[in-house]
Amino acid sequence: MQIQVRLYATFRIGRFNEQTRDYPPGTRISKVLEDLEIDESLIGTAFIDFKYATLDRELHEGARLGIFPKVGGG
């Protein structure tokens, strides 16, 4: 299945801003992170289709996955 991955802030360094990637059905967010060599402890928030998602969540065909390190403002 095709997943549209968007990375933000420091996660872009040495990787990409946006990429469509291919994964077998049932793939979880944590697997994508492993492939991208992003340590789970660095994650601030992940979004599937613009909704907050825990890292054990399964992705679906055409999902948009947004991944942020721990950032904040106000």
Binding site: A9, T45, F68, G73
Partner: protein, 576 residues
């Protein structure tokens, strides 16, 4: 050594008073709100003789504790008609504290038509007629005062917008680079303008280090506290690199970035106005990605943003301003937004109220969507010059909505709603509705927990847990605003109880007292209740704790979200 400095503009007198025992344990917001509640009749006209302007450094301001240099100002707001506390960085708070001044109360109205400046030094204060600076922009005026007094003097200054008593006007404070920070919200510039005070200059000569009751404990607590700030990923790294503008992409990804005057939750401009783009521009153009608004800030969320030629464009370039012009008013070009930000700082305009107003003005057809060039022209030639159109626009978001018959007017208690849509981030909607300040994200920043995963997670799209979340954060914020600490210390505090303990240890060591966590919560509750009561006495009711109707009628993409809290549900906020 602590004293209250009372300046009366009616008879041009200056008095030094002892600090009443009842006020001794307060600083910052707790003190300004206490004094406003005690001395300002809630039904008075905010620009009339009975309103006061109260400045107070926080409980820890003036000490070497990291990030403790914020200044609070309190008054009755001419924008909301309720109580207002607004705090800002800059160098003044620390100097005021080190001169032993616990609060500065300015009252009365001058009988004549003259503008004046107030000079504060170790011996007290004097009021002098001012002519040279009248009508001058803030940046130039600060330079004149630097030459007149000294570069190290603190300066609290009123821009041309405040001279014209516009409801969008702010009070600005000089930062370590002679640039500006602002007491932005609530139109307090108009109050200072009504008293015809162009500036307050504070001479640091003779300023003394703060007395610390238990220096050994203070030092240990201070080191622990600083470590927490530096080790937390948000306060230690994130804010330093991307500033607050990192939130553009975060809120866009969460579908909570109000766009095109709050008609959708995502903007096509997000990438071009994002913190990532800002950071890349700063590096390319040799600006400064991190910068502190006062000495002792270790978080350094501020920055210096240059144009393509490497020339200074603006600093303290915040997410809320960039969102309001970039997403909500559709301006694609970050440099144009930076220019507008600089002009707003120079004129002394609240960059949230003014920028949100532009979204409503665009909806009204006053200018085209996304027209940054016209925004800059209007700022300079209409608002800056006080033309009839400038006066209407300078009266703020709510007034412009009324003047042009617009129904989609994002305000609560007539103050513009900032950068987080309450339909898709429901906790912040409770904060907007209930805070005594009028719509204000900083009053109880639920974004931390709704969106950023700080202090746990409460689903932003559901109603469950939002009222408790907002209440707890508003209580904590009222307490933090009383310490003189920058609110961004809340990121590590929310994630680690030991960080909060270090903060309490600092206060205890400074004053030789034994506050507990419960006492701090008690302080926050007291502040909120005092402010709420002032508003009730000013004529507000629970019906003022509501969001504008359009949030209940128009669904927001991409989540198809709607504001669905009932009035009675919102009213439970005050059950504490």
């Amino acid at each position: 050594m602590h004293k209250i400095l009372r300046i009366n503009m009616s008879d041009l007198s200056v008095k030094t008073e002892e600090v009443p025992v009842a006020w001794a344990g307060y600083g910052g917001r707790a003190l300004t709100s206490t004094i406003v509640a005690a001395e300002v009749p809630p039904t008075c006209h905010p620009l009339g003789p009975n309103n006061k302007l109260v400045f107070a450094p926080g409980l820890l301001t003036g000490t070497v504790a990291s990030n403790s240099g914020r200044l609070s100002v309190g008054s009755k707001s001419p924008l909301t008609g309720g109580i207002k506390e607004s705090n800002a960085g800059g160098t003044s708070a620390q100097i005021i504290a080190k001169l032993g001044i616990k609060a500065l109360i300015i009252e009365g109205l001058p009988a004549d038509d003259k503008w004046r400046g107030i000079y504060i030094d170790k011996d007290g204060a004097r009021i002098e007629e001012e002519t040279e600076l009248i009508g001058m922009g803030n940046f130039a005026a600060v330079q004149v005062l630097n030459n007149r007094i000294s570069k190290s003097a603190g300066v609290i200054i009123l821009g041309p917008a405040g001279e014209m008593k516009m409801l969008t006007s702010n009070i600005s404070v000089k930062d370590p680079d002679s640039h500006l920070r602002s007491h932005g919200r609530g139109g307090l510039g108009a109050v200072m303008g009504s008293k015809k005070i162009k500036f307050i200059a504070i001479d640091p000569t003779g300023a003394q280090p703060m007395k610390i009751a238990d220096p050994v404990k203070f030092k240990a607590a201070g080191m622990a506290f600083t470590k927490f700030l530096l080790n937390h990923p948000v306060s230690g790294q994130g804010l330093k690199t991307y500033g607050t503008d990192i939130l553009v992409n975060v809120l866009n990804e969460a579908g909570g970035l109000p766009t095109h005057n709050f008609t959708t939750g995502q903007s096509l401009n997000a990438e071009s106005i994002s913190g990532e783009t800002m950071y890349a521009n700063i590096i390319k153009r040799e600006g400064k990605p991190s910068h502190g608004c006062h000495p002792g800030c270790v978080i350094q969320c501020s920055q210096v943003y240059n144009d393509a030629e490497g020339k200074y464009l603006t600093s303290g370039f915040e997410y809320e301003t960039i969102w309001a012009l970039g997403a909500n008013a559709d301006v694609k070009d970050l440099d144009q937004i930076a220019k507008a930000d600089y002009i707003m700082d120079d004129l002394g305009l609240d960059s949230i109220e003014t920028s949100v107003m532009f979204g409503v003005a665009m909806e009204a057809g006053v200018l085209h969507w996304g027209d940054g060039t016209e925004i800059i022209r209007i700022l300079k030639d209409e608002i800056g010059k006080g033309t009839p159109l400038g006066r209407v626009l300078g009266a703020g978001t709510g007034a412009v909505g009324r003047a042009y018959g617009v129904t989609r007017v994002p305000v609560v208690k007539n103050q513009a709603i900032p950068a987080y849509d309450p339909r898709s981030v429901k906790g912040i909607g409770i904060t907007y509705a209930t805070t005594p300040m009028g719509a204000d994200h900083t009053a109880g920043y639920t974004i931390a927990t709704n969106i950023l995963g700080v202090g746990g997670h409460v689903d932003p799209l559901k109603k469950e847990g939002q009222i408790d979340l907002s209440r707890n954060l508003q209580i904590a914020t009222a307490a933090v605003d009383s310490t003189g600490m920058c609110l961004f210390i809340a990121f590590p505090v929310l994630d680690d109880a030991a960080c909060l303990q270090a903060l309490i240890d600092l206060i205890n060591a400074r004053y030789g007292i034994a506050l507990t966590g419960d006492d701090v919560v008690g302080l926050g509750k007291y502040v909120l209740k005092t402010e709420h009561q002032f508003n009730l006495d000013a004529g507000f009711t629970n019906k003022d704790d509501r969001l504008p109707e359009f949030f209940t009628l128009e669904r927001l993409a991409p989540h198809n979200a709607i504001w669905d809290f009932t009035g009675p549900e919102i009213d439970t906020f005050w059950n504490f």
